[in-house]
């Protein structure tokens, strides 16, 4: 009796599922929102960066009408506290509990390295709008891993090209003693190739640079290349200016050391230093102008380069999903759509390399004061068009 009953029940269930499957073609699926896990650093001293990415990503979503490829979006926010193991745990939660289809938002490379693996293993997409570790550009490159911001070394390589081409002699290098710091200095050395006046690594999170600045002055360099993101950048540049060096030895850095996450905290002291970048606040294409105006209206501050990548990130997802009618469930189609995505980038133009990292134009920019007296980045010249990262050759995807 019971066996028959259960068999009947099973049969009924199978039939019902079959009917449901027939009755629910793709159109019905489109009613379900696309689930995106936004895992970023929201607490602690680096919490500013997560908020910057989140604000800009939301603005990007707003610009596409709150939908991606016509489908509603459910954004699930998570805080990695800048700790790799917490990042991995929250990524697990987003995949298993929230069933996210895309993981994005990660600020730090070490968090990315910890969180990307379980995400990719589970079949979801990793779409980085900031962290750009070399491992995923090279050996670990993956069909479902995309990075639309930059690879860590690229802006340093661009600055190295500029310094070499302009015969700047005896460059002095400074960075925090952690992986991204080493990536940036290695990137500069890869393209600069000239004599170095010094190469100094400081503790991560160091507050006072007086001792290092005294050594720097004694070495009498022709220029300084530095990479200090966040609060470290504010401390370093303030103290560098106070030591009276700003008009004696020029400061060069990637935009992460001199953009709107840092400049407001420094004030006028950074004016006259130079940054390599893929975007500045004064880009004159229509999309960029709209972005800056909308960002300022929404959040009452100027957007940073971090924000520019996050904003474009939402718009890339929208363009790729539009091309395939929102069918993110078709992973191969989504991957191909991303690889060949066409959209109106605020950077001017944009495309993905074979390793799913960007091919981008790198510019030189200078810190100036804008009409309202705020320090901003002004675009000066193109350093390298269609710059690709140095790890793509190690990637097996072609």
């Amino acid at each position: 009796m019971t066996m028959i009953a259960s068999r009947a029940a099973t049969a009924a269930l199978v039939v019902m599922c079959g009917v449901a499957a027939l009755a629910l073609p793709h159109a019905a699926r489109a009613d379900e929102p696309i689930k995106i896990g936004f895992l970023s650093t929201f607490s602690g001293p680096q919490g500013q960066l997560g908020q910057e990415l989140f604000d800009a990503f939301n603005l990007g979503l707003k610009s596409t009408g709150g939908t991606l490829g016509g489908r509603k979006v459910e954004l699930i926010q998570g805080d990695d506290q800048a700790k790799p193991d917490v990042g991995r745990q929250v990524a697990d939660k987003m995949i298993e509990s929230d069933h996210v289809q895309i993981l994005t938002g990660i600020v730090f490379s070490n968090v990315m390295l910890a969180a990307a693996k379980p995400t990719l293993d589970a079949g979801a997409f990793v779409f980085s709008i900031n962290a750009g570790p070399s491992q995923y550009a090279g050996k670990l490159c993956h069909p479902h891993y995309f990075n639309e911001s930059f690879q860590n070394d690229m802006l340093a390589e661009a600055m190295g090209i500029y310094l070499r081409e302009n015969s700047v002699k005896r460059v002095y290098l400074m960075a925090p003693n952690y992986p991204a710091g080493k990536d940036f200095l290695a990137g500069l050395k890869r393209t600069y190739k000239g004599e170095l006046a010094g190469e100094v690594y400081t503790a991560f999170g160091q507050l006072d640079y007086a001792a290092e600045i005294a050594q720097l002055r004694a070495a009498d360099p022709g220029a300084v290349f530095f990479f200090y993101p966040g609060g470290m950048g504010i401390n370093f540049v303030k103290q560098y200016a106070q030591a009276g060096l700003m008009d004696k030895v020029r400061l060069y850095g990637p935009s992460f050391s001199l953009d709107q996450t840092i400049l407001p905290g420094i004030g006028d002291a950074a004016v006259g230093s130079f940054a390599s970048t893929f975007w500045t606040e004064d880009f004159d294409n229509a999309a960029s102008k709209k972005f800056v105006a909308d960002f300022e209206a929404a959040y009452g501050r100027l957007p940073s380069t971090y924000a520019s990548a996050a904003y474009d990130g939402a718009r890339i997802l929208d363009a790729a999903l539009k091309a395939i009618g929102g069918r993110i469930e078709d992973k191969d189609a989504f991957q191909k759509a991303l690889e060949s995505v066409k959209f109106d980038s605020i950077r001017g133009h944009f495309k993905f390399n074979t390793n799913h990292y960007p091919i981008m134009d790198s510019y030189l920019s200078e810190v100036i004061k804008d009409a309202k007296g705020r320090p901003t980045l002004k675009r000066l010249e193109l350093i390298k068009a269609d710059q690709a990262d140095s790890y793509a050759a190690e990637c097996a995807m072609k």
Partner: protein
């Protein structure tokens, strides 16, 4: 290392030390007198910097920023003491650590809600924005010299107050024997509140002096707190003299360690020094209580 560089790095070490002393002085007083581990000392440092940056942004006067922010931080300390911390003087150190740990989180988030995530700018006072030549070939930022001067003045002031005034006598009496001091008519509760407020004012002052040379942002207090704790225990808990000497020692060791040692060792030098000193003198360089 040339003589000029040696002098400059020596000054850097001294200045860093004096800055740490401003933090450690309040910490060691509260710790030594009330037997209270107060981790919110770093939060008061942060509050002082934020308040001063705000006043400075609105008025443009660094002096006014000092005049407003130091008493305001002292007041914030008083409120904290009266509302929560007072009940923890008699509790175990662990309870004190836990409650102030919770308070750090709360104060950080409140600060973030009020001032936002973006670091707040804080300019140098105009008069002190330049650099002065103090030795042939050595120019030194005037503001850092000002920090040095303020720190040494505070050290002198504390010495005079604690050793030579009636208030200082109450403080010493309250610290060594609470019951006896009460019996002799000293209002121990009031003395404790005063000491706490003074410590808070010093933390605020340290934060204000740090503001123009570093990032004024949420969480800026914790790294400084750790260094100040290191200074406090190396000096001997409760000893102002010990705090001053330990602070200068740490400042010099850190400065020369960073310049002369490889980065991995440079980050560790302070902690290696603390471990060595405590292994040699388990109650710090200048133990107060017998």
């Amino acid at each position: 290392m040339t003589t000029a560089l040696l002098i400059e790095q020596g000054l850097n070490g001294l200045q860093l030390g004096v800055q740490l002393f401003l933090m450690a002085a309040g910490l060691t007083l509260v710790f030594g007198i009330m037997n209270m581990i107060n981790l919110t000392h770093g939060s008061l440092f942060m509050v002082g910097a934020f308040l001063a940056a705000t006043v400075l942004a609105h008025t443009g006067s660094f002096v006014l920023a000092l005049v407003v922010a130091v008493p305001a931080t002292a007041l914030a300390g008083l409120v904290l003491e009266a509302a929560v911390l007072r009940r923890f003087y008699g509790r175990s150190h662990l309870d004190q650590v836990l409650v102030t740990f919770g308070l750090i989180m709360v104060i950080n988030e409140l600060t973030r809600m009020v001032w936002g995530n973006v670091p707040v700018p804080m300019a140098l006072p105009q008069v002190l924005s330049g650099a002065v030549t103090i030795y042939p070939g050595v120019t030194y930022p005037s503001f850092r010299l000002a920090i040095l001067a303020v720190g040494l003045l505070v050290a002198l002031g504390l010495y005079v107050v604690v050793v030579h005034t009636r208030v200082g006598m109450w403080v010493r009496a309250g610290a060594s024997d609470r019951a006896m001091a009460s019996a002799m008519g000293v209002n121990v509760g009031l003395v404790f509140s005063l000491v706490f407020a003074a410590g808070a004012a010093l933390a605020g002052l340290a934060g204000i002096m740090a503001g123009p040379i570093s990032a004024v942002q949420v969480g800026m207090g914790e790294p400084v707190l750790i260094l100040a704790l290191v200074v406090t225990v190396i000096g001997g808990i409760g000893s102002i003299k010990g705090a001053l000497i330990a602070a200068v020692l740490i400042g010099l060791a850190d400065t020369f360690g960073r310049v002369l040692l490889p980065p991995a060792l440079g980050s560790m030098i302070i902690f290696m020094m603390m471990a060595a000193i405590l292994a040699w003198r388990p109650r710090g360089l200048f133990p107060v209580h017998g």
